[in-house]
Symmetry: C4
């Protein structure tokens, strides 16, 4: 019964220069939403699944009305004609306390190192008192060089962080802080949104996706994204969500998630 | 001084295809009440008792005015003419935090595996704003097949879980989530009740007992149950309980509990 | 840097049939106050001092305006013409969480066993909405025999515990619950008092002292105790205390505490 | 992945009779502010940096708009013509819980012992309902002798601690309490200030600096300090700060901090 359990699924992919992107629940759920859309749109495949004694002691009910332990998952996308493949961290929970967050972040970096990642992007929200109409995006990280590269792709850049933006809490923050100790450059894209972890920050999410699209040349279909956003928004968007509502946002990527069914290659 | 302590009592029973049923304190105490009634009615015998540093740091006062450490207990019932015997998990507490809940659930599954259980049922409540007059019962789990089998025994089935029912928290949830990893099928029966852990959800409890009765062919005497429910209800039912009140509901099974007095067979 | 540290002071006393009495901060501080008065009155000597990473992360300021780590201490009293000597557990704090409370209680029982104690008494308060004028005392424990022996010494006995008195939380409760597992009989004397941990339940304290006096034939001088109670009461009694006020109640036993200055016999 | 990580930077300095001074965030941030000014004014050099799983699970944004893990740092100052050099403990956070605070304090004392420190000074605030116009300073510690020495340098001494000043919580308190067990004398200087950890207790800070200046003959330039205080005060002083505001107070010592760039001598 180890505290942390990671199960790898399918054959180990050979990835080119993978960029590692993280998007977990948090302020406005901007990180989680952007990641769920991204996985759906580029049809990423699951490669690994974390379960842990340091995740919430509960199960979620999925779209088949069956239960699932809380998990955080790693997906990958291998592109044909691009210089950089992707590794993606998605999930419904954050580790439950400080020490777990540090431990988990190191386990994530172990995987990033194993695939020889040189670049990490963490996604999140900056809490505002209301959802802004045209949310700006803040960019920070552990490397001026990588920061500057990403800033070029940000239309609504807000460059005024120091003394304004408080600590970045959770996996999005700790991954940034630890990456340098593991010789990985890291940036964070933080969109303005309404400051509630059970709110769906749709507008901020879209800003984040535009930046990733431009910077990583992903050719995302924003028509599909807009339609999906509309659906979520009409059903769930105009209120503060329950944990069950929030869970439903994952349904968007359900079909693709089920396709990673090969044999395990790591126990 | 290990963190977890389990004492086995009496001779190890030889059980046929045992179904493992869990009912601990929780929303409306539906799980705990149903389990306490069941143990009383079928005259189940205690087989094991958990104490732990991860249970509350307190003692309860029992019906003899003496103190007892908080315990969670395993009972069994061997039937003469049935295909399936029973193992039952009852108690006054839940483990105090996330990690303890996972650890404890694995220890419970160790026992289930040791008796070669193939089927687990966890009992609980779904929080409503008031106690419903005719509470529905939700059914979920880790296996469509077992789910469907139990659904046939549910008169007031509510099949609308996904996106409605939030995470199932505590041992009732984690046992479900971990069972599959130990090759055990698991279902959960969740009755609508008033959303307070110190409330006695009598009506939901009765719905749960009816389902177990039908599905497992237990031949419970609902006249006795109704009378006992009436007694509890008239004394305690119409208010939110204190921890001392709640403790009294265990008195129903006091006589039978005392009868497991043989020698220990596991230290 | 072990989590628990116990330093023994002076020569190990040879004690006759020692009764182990515990009185730590809690509801109305009845246990702590009774113990502080008792140590003062019978001139008990310090024999051991616990410090721990699981005590509050702070220091108190003592009567010399110098700091002291929070400690829990063991005192002893060797009587000339009595059948039973005393071991006494006093202090300014409780362990900070559930697991620490269990661990600490076992460490205390190690000492009790080492001195061959057969009898433990824990002291505490029962929370009322106001301080009762003539507080009753409840008696419970792990042994009917010892319970009945103590009940004979209680004038204002309230025998109506079951279903009324909630769980006994903290060291006073856990010691009771674990004592039986170490073959020690234990009782708890719980006086009615105002339900606030920073209140000084003077009246309940006196009831407890009367019972100990009678049961253990201590020949306490209640005139002195009354005078000391008056002093505390006039200075601190009619309000809810701060932690600094509470600390001052220990001053009563300051002179005697300083007299245990021999060499350490356990490192 | 050890829980505590300390990285030493640069060549190990040879220090004469170093006095170890601690100033971390706390009541009114008096300790942190005094330490930040001191490091700036005497141009102290960084010698070591703690990171830990028991610090907050977040990153701060620094004056270059890049992220930094929360750290606690050790600085030193070697003087030419003085009897006592300095070791200084500064940082943006406190360990997150009781056990971490004890563990961290012992790690700090390991460093103090390694440099053969005989004297520790911890800095902090005493919570008042408003910021006093002429804040007094309290002095306590583990040694009458050292206490008396420091009291001579305190103009606004308040000698009335016992029964008035509550427990000293956090590293400032625990260092005091543990120092004696490591054969180090320790004092604490506690200035009256407004009782909020996100408030900047400028006036109390200045009182503390005056005492250190006199007692350790530091020849601090109070004109510079007054000007810096004015700047901070006009920007941040008249409100309760956010974590981001608080972070900005560290900027005062930014230039000097960057100059410790030699090779690591401990891994």
């Amino acid at each position: 019964m180890p505290k942390w359990n990671v199960e790898f699924t399918g054959k180990r992919p050979a990835l080119k220069n993978p960029v590692f992107i993280e998007g977990l629940p948090g302020i406005g759920n901007v990180g989680k939403l952007a990641m769920d859309f991204l996985i759906e749109e580029i049809n990423a495949k699951k490669i690994a699944e974390f379960t842990s004694y340091s995740f919430p002691h509960s199960v979620f009910i999925n779209e088949d009305n069956l239960v699932e332990l809380p998990t955080i998952e790693v997906y990958y996308k291998k592109f044909k004609n691009k210089k950089k493949d992707l590794l993606l961290l998605a999930g419904d929970v954050q580790p439950i306390d400080e020490q777990s967050c540090y431990e988990f972040s190191h386990k994530v970096l172990d995987i990033a190192k194993d695939f020889n990642c040189k670049e990490i992007v963490t996604l999140g929200g900056i809490a505002m008192k209301t959802e802004p109409k045209n949310p700006c995006v803040f960019c920070t990280g552990d490397s001026k060089e990588l920061n500057n590269a990403y800033k070029k792709s940000i239309k609504n850049l807000n460059n005024n962080l120091y003394g304004i933006v408080g600590p970045i809490i959770g996996v999005s923050g700790v991954l940034l802080g630890l990456a340098g100790k593991r010789d990985i450059k890291a940036v964070s894209l933080l969109a303005e949104t309404y400051g509630h972890p059970m709110y769906l920050g749709i507008k901020g999410t879209k800003e984040i996706l535009k930046i990733l699209n431009k910077q990583l040349n992903l050719k995302l279909n924003f028509k599909t994204i807009d339609k999906e956003i509309e659906t979520i928004d009409s059903e769930l968007g105009h209120k503060t969500l329950s944990a069950a509502d929030l869970q439903r946002t994952k349904a968007l990527r359900k079909t693709k998630r089920k396709s990673c069914d090969d044999i395990n290659y790591i126990g």
